[in-house]
């Protein structure tokens, strides 16, 4: 693997490590041929500007950018060299919020959330709070990364955690290209272990969903047919089963933006997103029912806005002052990256959002 692929943009001191620079490129473009319509203009056409939140359903908590992988397209710019992780104190504040929120879903993400030293304590405490759907975004390889993680499947089972994991393709070549050499085999092994204790089996309550995002500068295909193909291939080749596949569009930020620019696909990709713009997807973009909390306790409309440093447009900006009513009164902050959520069938952390 090349050196570039083993380090985050931060470590490489890339100008794209700065959210400000990413936003400049997204807003002003690097095109020669004039700009794209702004996302705000686009949603004005269907009277959906400004975007407004509906009832809060999902609390997404990013417990840190540390990760055992350095995937080519990571929108978090996560990796082993990232040190930002949520402290126990901030977790305690999150627990207060979890106890008092109307949200039914808790979505723990990272980085590899399991690498936060307080991860298990937090899951333990949070799972007592009566949340209906407790999601952990596990990259699968973490389960095989080190002995101390080998018992994670059992731990997940004991806490009835809903495991959601990324899988770029059912072939080794495409998966390893995006996520690093050896990732595919380790992921399959982890999936088999999860299956062995009941995860992902038909009729099992132990939910195991996979996330598919394209390995290059193209949009995801139809979610239902991709799910069929994934299920058949993983079953035939490895006896692996899972529940649903969420197809997610890569948003043009962070390492994926870096890849788009370096491979001279940026312009074409932005056009693809704009051409595939679907006003019906706007109604259900995930920022309309989600609050995203960063490792340092700041509040965002979504994980993508978090990475771009776009805090919520509300008096309440930090978990210290969390107030659901005030937050429900905000306008959602949007920019050109939002085209990624509204292309085709739309895209959210739970996959497609429109028919």
């Amino acid at each position: 693997m090349s050196k570039l692929k083993t380090q985050s943009l931060h470590k490489r001191e890339s100008e794209l490590a700065e959210a400000k620079r990413q936003l400049e490129i997204l807003s002003n473009g690097i095109f020669q041929s004039g700009g794209l319509p702004t996302f705000a203009q686009k949603i004005k056409e269907t009277h959906q500007f400004p975007l407004r939140p509906k009832k809060l359903e999902i609390l997404q908590i990013n417990v840190g950018y540390m990760c055992n992988q350095v995937c080519e397209h990571c929108h978090v710019d996560a990796g082993p060299d990232r040190t930002e992780i949520m402290t126990r104190e901030t977790m305690e504040q999150c627990l207060e919020v979890i106890k008092n929120t109307g949200a039914h879903t808790l979505d723990l993400t990272g980085g590899a959330p399991e690498m936060n030293p307080n991860f298990r304590w937090f899951v333990d405490e949070a799972s007592k709070a009566g949340i209906k759907d407790f999601i952990v975004r596990s990259n699968l390889t973490i389960i095989r990364a080190n002995k101390k993680y080998y018992d994670l499947p059992q731990f997940f089972k004991e806490h009835n955690v809903h495991v959601v994991s990324s899988m770029p393709h059912w072939t080794r070549g495409k998966t390893d290209k995006q996520r690093g050499d050896g990732v595919f085999d380790k992921s399959i092994k982890a999936l088999q272990e999860l299956n062995a204790i009941g995860y992902g089996m038909p009729n099992s309550d132990l939910r195991l969903d996979l996330v598919y995002n394209p390995s290059g500068a193209f949009l995801p295909g139809d979610q239902a047919s991709m799910e069929k193909d994934f299920k058949k291939a993983l079953m035939d080749d490895f006896g692996v089963q899972f529940h649903n596949l969420f197809a997610i569009t890569n948003l043009p930020i962070s390492r994926f933006l870096d890849y788009l620019i370096a491979s001279e696909n940026y312009e074409d990709y932005m056009y693809q997103l704009v051409d595939a713009y679907n006003p019906k997807a706007v109604t259900n973009v995930m920022c309309t029912n989600t609050i995203s909390i960063s490792w340092d306790g700041f509040l965002y409309d979504c994980d993508f806005n978090q990475m771009l440093g776009l805090q919520v447009a509300s008096k309440v900006k930090h978990i210290n002052d969390y107030n659901e009513d005030l937050l429900n009164n905000r306008n959602i902050v949007t920019s050109q990256h939002c085209y990624g959520c509204t292309a085709g069938a739309g895209s959210s952390c739970q996959g497609a959002v429109a028919e």
Binding site: P214, L219, S225, M226, F230
Partner: protein, 112 residues
């Protein structure tokens, strides 16, 4: 503005504009086209691979561009795509070669 090339990749995005100068036929074509590629007795995936093979035999850069991207979106692997291209190439070269029989007939008739 496009450069001094017969083919400009950016023109592919303008394909839909052909209806502007002939709406009825243009619209009929696009309706037909959309219908053809729907799931039917053949899957949309199979149709995409056929389109890719034909794009190569027709040597249409726009279609090659479009159906390569379409294949990737459907999760079709590069090995599958290359096999489809070979199928197209085999039929195309077979079609040339089978005309050799015509040549042989003619030679036999004229110079037998």
């Amino acid at each position: 503005m496009a450069g001094n090339n017969y083919y400009d990749p950016a023109d592919l995005r303008k394909f839909g504009n052909i209806t502007e100068w002939g709406e009825e036929l243009g619209a009929k074509f696009f309706d037909y086209y959309t219908k053809v590629f729907e799931e039917g007795a053949l899957t949309a995936r199979e149709k995409s691979l056929i389109a890719l093979a034909v794009a190569h035999t027709e040597m249409c850069p726009y279609c090659i561009d479009a159906y390569t991207k379409d294949g990737l979106q459907r999760g079709i692997t590069k090995e599958e795509m290359m096999e489809a291209v070979h199928v197209g190439a085999a039929i195309k070269s077979g079609a040339s070669l089978v005309h050799g029989v015509m040549m042989m007939n003619k030679v036999n008739k004229l110079d037998g």
